[in-house]
Each structure stands twice: as structure tokens, then as C-alpha cells.
């Protein structure tokens, strides 16, 4: 039942739902590979890295990756549509600055936070508008807004760093659930993760997101509102980035223009490591979560070994390259063996991918 027959077939034809048995579809995936790798690394660290099994490890690990994890959720959907958002870290910076200034201006933290979220939404919406309705390539647009939003953050706060925040709130950011050592903020993260997971994989909106990534013109002909979908996704990306910014302020108790500089690359690295295709149309959220955790665990273990930023950089880089190389290497091998169709398995023949459909026509 797993082979296509070219025979002319009898009219009343029925089909198998799947070409491959269940276990294959579950086990032979990028996501499973990443999760397996994650588990392996954790086990290895448990045994070989001093203090990795300590109670503080989990807490700090989760606290550290929270911003990346948060932003990775909308970023995944953005990349699945074949677009990309490089401005997220700048939005984080901007929102920390806003919270700082507004709070210093006498507003309560919740009010300041809400305003910051609105600002984040605005930033995201601007990206979305330029990409979806003006039809600009998101890579270029968000390189621009990366500079713009960071510039606003630095410009607004100038030399100062606002560091006066009520302990009540700063403590909340690092509070733990009971004595589990798991940060309270993880509840929020979990809720959002589930929400995004359902949205992407179990709604027709999510199906539309994948269609856009694979063939946005066909999606349009099928009644998917491509522009609106992208606007929504970029706006989500802005809001969640602002949320991460609020967390940033509260955790570090300091609002600075240069907060979270360079975070966007870590997020994208994690998302791609999680098995999302930069060309769009492919990826699953649980893989992304695993990717973020993997980067966090590796970093934490290496730091415990007293290894500093440079080696960690190298390893993140290697992970990233390996993660994207692996499928094409496999394809290349089966290419050699089964002499597969080159064009079927050749990403580089496809354009750089980031929103190229919009980039070309429309």
C-alpha cells in the first residue's frame, strides 16, 4: 500500500490515509531527532558536568531561556510563512525602555506594561504592514526596523539606565513555583506555547500559514487572506517581544536602551535548530521548544565547565550549521543511492526563501 501504481484504476476508488506506518511518521522526523539530542545532552551533562544536577541549574536555565522561548513562538509562525523578523530584539529593548520611562514617570508597573505591549503591537504591525500590504521583503524591512526600534530605545533613554522598580514586581519575575525551583513565569510560557501550538497545527488559520509558506499565490487562490495573516503574525511577534521585554526589565531590574542586543540571532538559531525550514512551509512547534532548550542546556553546561562565551559561540554555530546540513546531507546520500531528482531535494535552487514570493511579484 506504500507504493504508487500507475495502472488505470477502477472508478470507485478509495485511498489509504497514509503512505507510511504510524511509527515511521512519528520517529523519522527532525523534531524527534532534536528531542533525542536534547535528552542525550542532558543525560551526559547530568553525569559528567559538576553541579549540573544542582537544584539551581533548572531555575537559572529556565530564567535564561524564557525570553528566547517566548519570542521563538511567534517567530516560528513568521518563518513558516517564509518571512523573517529580525527586529524582535530591538522591540525587546524598546519595551524595556518604555516600561522604565513610564514607571519613572509615575505609572504603575501594570499600566506601563500594558502600554509597552501596545507599543510592541504597533512595532509589529508596522513590520507586518510593510511586508504584507506594501509587499516588501521582510529581511530588508526588519533589518531597517531593527535599527529603527533600537534607535528609538537608545534615543529615548539616552545615557541613563532606569533601575528603580518595586521589589514586589522584580521578585515576581524570579519567583519559583513552591519549592520546585521552576520559575513562576514558566506557567505563562507554557500557556503561550500551548496556545501557539494549537493555533499553528490545529486550526485552519495555521493550515493557511503553511500554505503561504509553500506557495502563497496558490494560498491566495484558495481564499487564504495572505496579507492579513502576515500582518497578524508580525503583530503577534511584536507583542510577544514586548512581553519578553517586560520580563527583561523585571528580571534584571534595569531598563537600558541596549538590553537584549543580538537576541534575534539566538532566537532564529533556536527556531531553525528546532527543524523549521528557513524557506517556509515546514516546521513544528515542539521541535522549536526542544531547539531552545537545547541551546540553553548546552550554554549552561559549558559555563559550568568554566568554558566562556567564545567556545559557546562556536558550538551554537556548529549546532545551527549541523541542524540545517543534516537533512540535505541525508538527501545527498539518498541522491547518490536512489539518484533522486535534484530539483526535488535542493533548497538552494529555491530562492533565499525569506518571503521571496512577495519579493518577486505582487
Amino acid at each position: 500500500m506504500t507504493t504508487t501504481t500507475q495502472r488505470p484504476t477502477d472508478p470507485a476508488r478509495t485511498y489509504a490515509e497514509h503512505a507510511a506506518p504510524l511509527w515511521q511518521r512519528l520517529v523519522l522526523t527532525r523534531e524527534t531527532a532534536i528531542i533525542a539530542l536534547l535528552v542525550a545532552v542532558v543525560l551526559y551533562a547530568m553525569v559528567n558536568v559538576r553541579n549540573f544536577d544542582g537544584p539551581l541549574t533548572l531555575t537559572y536555565l529556565l530564567l535564561d531561556i524564557t525570553p528566547i522561548l517566548l519570542i521563538a513562538l511567534p517567530m516560528t509562525m513568521v518563518i513558516v510563512t517564509g518571512e523573517i523578523d529580525l527586529s524582535v530584539a530591538s522591540v525587546v529593548g524598546l519595551s524595556t525602555v518604555l516600561v522604565g520611562i513610564l514607571h519613572a514617570g509615575g505609572l504603575s508597573i501594570p499600566v506601563a506594561a500594558v502600554l509597552a505591549l501596545l507599543a510592541g503591537a504597533a512595532c509589529g504591525a508596522l513590520n507586518g504592514f510593510l511586508v504584507a500590504y506594501v509587499g516588501l521583503p521582510s529581511l530588508a524591512v526588519t533589518i531597517g526596523t531593527l535599527a529603527l526600534y533600537r534607535g528609538l530605545a537608545v534615543g529615548l533613554l539616552g545615557t541613563k539606565a532606569i533601575t528603580e522598580f518595586p521589589d514586589r514586581w522584580t521578585d515576581l519575575a524570579t519567583a519559583k513555583i513552591g519549592d520546585t525551583g521552576i520559575p513562576l513565569v514558566m506557567v505563562l510560557v507554557a500557556i503561550l506555547a500551548i496556545a501557539f501550538g494549537l493555533l499553528l497545527h490545529f486550526t485552519s488559520f495555521g493550515r493557511g500559514v503553511f500554505d503561504i509558506g509553500l506557495n502563497s499565490e496558490a494560498a491566495r487562490f484558495t481564499g487564504v487572506d495572505v496579507a492579513r495573516t502576515k500582518l497578524i503574525l508580525f503583530t503577534l511577534s511584536g507583542v510577544v517581544s514586548a512581553l519578553a521585554g517586560i520580563y527583561y526589565v523585571l528580571r534584571f531590574g534595569s531598563a537600558r536602551g541596549d538590553n537584549a542586543t543580538g537576541l534575534e540571532l539566538q532566537v532564529i538559531a533556536a527556531v531553525l535548530l528546532g527543524g523549521v525550514s528557513i524557506f517556509g512551509g515546514r516546521g513544528r512547534l515542539h521541535g522549536v521548544v526542544a531547539g531552545v532548550l537545547l541551546i540553553g542546556v548546552v550554554g549552561s553546561a559549558l559555563r559550568l565547565e568554566g568554558i566562556t562565551v567564545n567556545v559557546i559561540n562556536i558550538i551554537i554555530g556548529l549546532l545551527l550549521v549541523a541542524s540545517v546540513m543534516s537533512p540535505s546531507v541525508l538527501a545527498w546520500i539518498s541522491d547518490r543511492t536512489a539518484r533522486r531528482n535534484p530539483r526535488a531535494s535542493r533548497p538552494t535552487d529555491a530562492p533565499l526563501g525569506v518571503g521571496q514570493k512577495e519579493g518577486r511579484n505582487s
Binding site: T14, Y15, N215
Partner: protein, 504 residues
């Protein structure tokens, strides 16, 4: 004239090729002699394009033999086959939109001045010469972007003949061409033959095959069936060889009694594209939209369905005006639109059959806002079955299907929405007679069930055979509205070309 005994310039023996578990080509054989035009015919998915791509070096064969002028060859890249004097026109035009048409033709082999600088003016002159030979008026310096499909095909042809190759292979070059352009192409092809080259011509239009070719090789299901000399065979024999069974009437049109107007279009206008388009389609009626390629028929259809915007005019379904530039409300109002380019517009080829077939009805399938792939498959299965889509399982990618099968998937997808109006653009472009008859039967059956159908087609026989009423578009304007009884090839063509005397 060619004789089958002359030694072949290109010969394939039992060549095979599989993509994963899909056996695209089982035993492809063909023997092309110089001074002859050799037709390659077969149903969709018979393996014609695959065979072509193996000769071109796009794919590498898994087995079998390929002889070029008697010596065995195995191309790793299209560059190699080119270097050996094989020119190919692929089924889909492959142009570089940002570059001038001239650069598209001479890329990689531009004439050089001393100092290896490209000699642009010489290049443009050569291009001009080519176009003159093809009798077309395309400015050699204009960008390829914005060319009509027909002109793109012309550029491909110019590209191929400029190579002055020993073997010229054309994979459905005429699919997008109007009669005039086809004739010009044939003239060139014949002169190339008489220069002593071997040509391979792939087409689903038998009139063309018989008008042009010396031999005909028939393929079915990736297998070589037979090679006949055109002189001593006829359409019926070819068809039965191709299909392996008897096909019934090609245009099984049953007269349906017309109901209320379903679609009404009033003064639809988009500057530079179409102007003052007004017509209506009644329940049970098949309205044919005829005209030359590039007349703007597809554009009109796209505007009605809402994928393109229009400046002024009204579109109403069952008397209710629907907002412009909004496919969703068009679908909600009961419209379905099967576009002309199924790979780019009709399907998400890298998605599964189930995903594609259920794409237009997803929102209805979701429960409490949630959608599962199980629900998709359950909805898709019956429709795929009704259209006899050839696929192993519902989660196979549509990419692995041949044109005909992909078209069936697109039709299934739209029938699943249970539409009141079906707009179908080039329903049988690049589709074999077998499937063609099926599609036509389906259309008239749907009309019989009271569905309103707007059918765009560049094939006159199809329009005349299927339509209750023929609307003719010329340069973005309706130039005729002819009832079935009075429609003849002559009056339709006259309306289609009325204002185009002198232009091309």
C-alpha cells in the same frame, strides 16, 4: 523525407527512472533520425517530460541505454547535453525575469569583443535576426518580465534554435500559443528539419501532431508502446494505443435547461487589462470564454473571483453584489475558480493530496475552531476517488503527480466546496485525451445538475463543443456573444482577431 532506416542521431533504449517509489519511466525508448520530426505522445504522466529531462541531463537515468550519434552518453548536467548539440524547450518556460530577452537567449555564450567584454550590440543584432526569422515583434532590449506566456514560449524557441543543435526537443511548446503563432513555429520547425536536424515534438493536440510530424512514438504508463509513420496511421489508432482503451465522445455535451442567472457582471473595468465587461451566466449553463492567449480572459476571471482588483463595475451572485478583491467572500457566495497554472496557482504541490483537496473547505471541517488532518483526509477521500486521482495514499505530495492528475486534484478541491458557479480556466491544458473526455463529461454533468459554469479555453473545438454560449474577448473587451447554435470557428476567430489586424 526521413526513413526509419537512416541511422539515428538520438536513440534511447529501455531507459528507466524512478523518483522515490514513483516509477516515472519504466522502459522509455525512442529513435530520432536526422531530417525528421518525431512526435512523442502519451497520457499525462506517461513519462514524456521525464524522458526529455533525462536526455537534457536534468535527471540521470537509473537504467537503459542512451546513444547520441551511435555513441553511448550519460549527461550529468544540462550543460553537457547542450555542449553535445541537444537543445530542449521545457514544458514550463524558464526565463530570467530581470534580464533582457536577449541576455535570456545568449546567457553563458554571449558574443565577446577583444578583452572578453560582452559585445552587446552584436548580441542584440543576433537576437533581432532570430526574432525576424520567427516573425515576431519583441524588442531585444526589453526585460523578460511582463511577457505573455506565448511570448515567453517564443523566447524559449528562439533560445533553442539559436543553439543550432543536432537535436531539438520541444515539450508541449504550443500549449500556450494561438493558431498564428503555432503556424510560425511549424514553419521554423520544418526548415530546421530540412537543414538536417532531428526534432522531437510533444503535444496533446493531434491535429498539430499529424500536421507536423513524420513519425509518432506512443508511450503509456512510462512504457514504450509503438512507433508509427504518420502517413499510415490515424488519430483513433494513436488514441487507442495511448489510452489502452476506447475513449467515448470527446465532447459529451448534454443540453441542459437554463435556470435563473447565477453570476452577473456589469461594466467590469481595469485600465490596461479589460474594459466594460458585462455578461451573465445562468444556472445549468456553460458559458465559453474564447479568445487569443493574452486577450485578458484569465484576468477577467481572476477579477471576478477577487484575486485581482478591478477599478469599476459590479459582480453579483444570485443578485447579491459581492465585494471586489476578496476571494473569501467570493467563495462564500458559492464561486469556485480553477486557475490556468495549476502548479503555481492551483495547488500547494509540496503539500499532501488530502491537504490540497480539503484546502477550500477547511474552515467548515474544523470543530470548535480546531482542525485535524484526520478530518481533512475523511473529507478529501471521496472527492479524490470520484475524480480517480492516481495516488498511493492521501498524504503523498501533489508534487509527485503528472499534470493531468494534478488537475484532477484541483477540480476535486473546488467541487468539494459544492459551488453554485464554477469558473474553470483552460480546463484541459496539457491534459491527455483520456482525462480530457473525463473532464468534459464531468463539466456537462455538473451543468446538468444546475451548476453555472464559466469556461475559459484557447482550444476552439473545446469551446464550440462544450459551451451553450460563446463570449469572445479581444484585447480586454467583449467583442462577441454567440449562442451555441450559431457558433462557428470562423465567426469566433473573426471576433477574436477583429481589432488585431496589423498587430503582430
Amino acid at each position: 523525407m526521413a526513413t526509419a532506416h537512416a541511422d539515428a542521431v538520438l536513440e534511447l533504449r529501455d531507459v528507466s527512472k524512478s523518483f522515490g517509489q514513483v516509477a516515472a519511466l519504466r522502459s522509455g525508448s525512442i529513435r530520432v533520425t536526422p531530417r525528421s520530426i518525431h512526435a512523442l505522445v502519451g497520457e499525462n504522466g506517461a513519462g514524456k517530460s521525464t524522458l526529455v529531462k533525462i536526455v537534457a541531463g536534468v535527471h540521470r537515468r537509473d537504467g537503459g541505454e542512451m546513444l547520441l550519434e551511435g555513441e553511448s552518453v550519460d549527461f550529468h548536467s544540462t550543460a553537457e547535453s547542450k555542449a553535445r548539440g541537444i537543445a530542449v524547450i521545457y514544458q514550463e518556460p524558464t526565463l530570467f525575469p530581470d534580464l533582457s530577452v536577449t541576455e535570456n537567449i545568449f546567457m553563458g555564450r554571449q558574443p565577446l569583443t577583444t578583452g572578453r567584454r560582452i559585445d552587446r550590440s552584436a548580441m542584440y543584432d543576433e537576437a533581432q535576426a532570430l526574432f525576424d526569422r520567427l516573425g515576431v515583434h519583441i524588442d531585444p532590449r526589453r526585460p523578460a518580465e511582463g511577457l505573455s506566456i506565448a511570448d515567453q514560449q517564443i523566447i524559449e524557441i528562439a533560445k533553442a534554435i539559436s543553439l543550432d543543435a543536432k537535436v531539438l526537443i520541444m515539450d508541449e511548446p504550443t500549449a500556450a500559443l494561438s493558431g498564428v503563432e503555432v503556424e510560425r513555429l511549424f514553419t521554423v520547425a520544418r526548415s530546421l528539419r530540412d537543414e538536417g536536424r532531428g526534432l522531437v515534438f510533444i503535444s496533446h493536440r493531434f491535429d498539430e501532431v499529424f500536421a507536423l510530424c513524420d513519425q509518432i512514438t506512443v508511450m503509456r504508463d512510462g512504457q514504450y508502446i509503438d512507433t508509427l509513420t504518420t502517413a499510415d496511421t490515424d488519430v483513433d489508432q494513436i488514441v487507442s494505443l495511448m489510452v489502452g482503451r476506447e475513449v467515448g465522445d470527446l465532447f459529451p455535451k448534454t443540453a441542459a435547461e437554463l435556470g435563473e442567472p447565477v453570476l452577473q457582471v456589469r461594466d467590469l473595468t481595469m485600465t490596461g487589462v479589460f474594459h466594460d465587461i458585462s455578461f451573465e451566466v445562468r444556472a445549468g449553463e456553460i458559458v465559453g470564454l474564447a479568445g487569443l492567449v493574452g486577450a485578458g480572459r484569465s484576468e477577467i476571471a481572476r477579477a471576478i473571483f477577487g484575486v485581482d482588483r478591478y477599478e469599476s463595475g459590479v459582480v453579483t451572485m444570485d443578485g447579491i453584489a459581492i465585494p471586489g478583491h476578496d476571494p473569501r467572500s467570493a467563495i462564500r457566495s458559492g464561486m469556485a475558480f480553477i486557475p490556468e497554472d495549476r502548479r503555481k496557482q492551483g495547488l500547494v504541490t509540496q503539500a499532501s493530496v488530502a491537504h490540497n483537496v480539503s484546502a477550500a473547505v477547511r474552515s467548515r471541517l474544523s470543530r470548535w475552531g480546531f482542525l485535524t488532518s484526520g478530518a481533512e483526509s475523511r473529507a478529501a477521500g471521496p472527492w479524490a476517488g470520484r475524480l480517480e486521482v492516481k495516488t498511493g495514499a492521501l498524504d503523498m505530495d501533489a508534487a509527485t503527480m503528472s499534470g493531468g492528475n494534478q488537475q484532477k486534484v484541483v477540480i476535486a478541491k473546488w467541487l468539494a466546496t459544492d459551488p453554485r458557479l464554477l469558473i474553470i480556466d483552460e480546463p484541459t491544458r496539457g491534459i491527455d485525451v483520456g482525462t480530457k473526455a473525463e473532464v468534459h463529461r464531468l463539466l456537462s454533468q455538473l451543468a446538468g445538475e444546475g451548476m453555472a459554469i464559466l469556461m475559459i479555453s484557447s482550444e476552439l473545438p473545446e469551446v464550440l463543443g462544450m459551451a451553450d454560449r460563446v463570449l469572445v474577448v479581444c484585447e480586454g473587451r467583449l467583442t462577441a456573444d454567440i449562442p451555441r447554435a450559431e457558433a462557428t470557428p470562423e465567426n469566433v476567430m473573426r471576433a477574436a482577431t477583429r481589432t488585431t489586424e496589423g498587430v503582430r
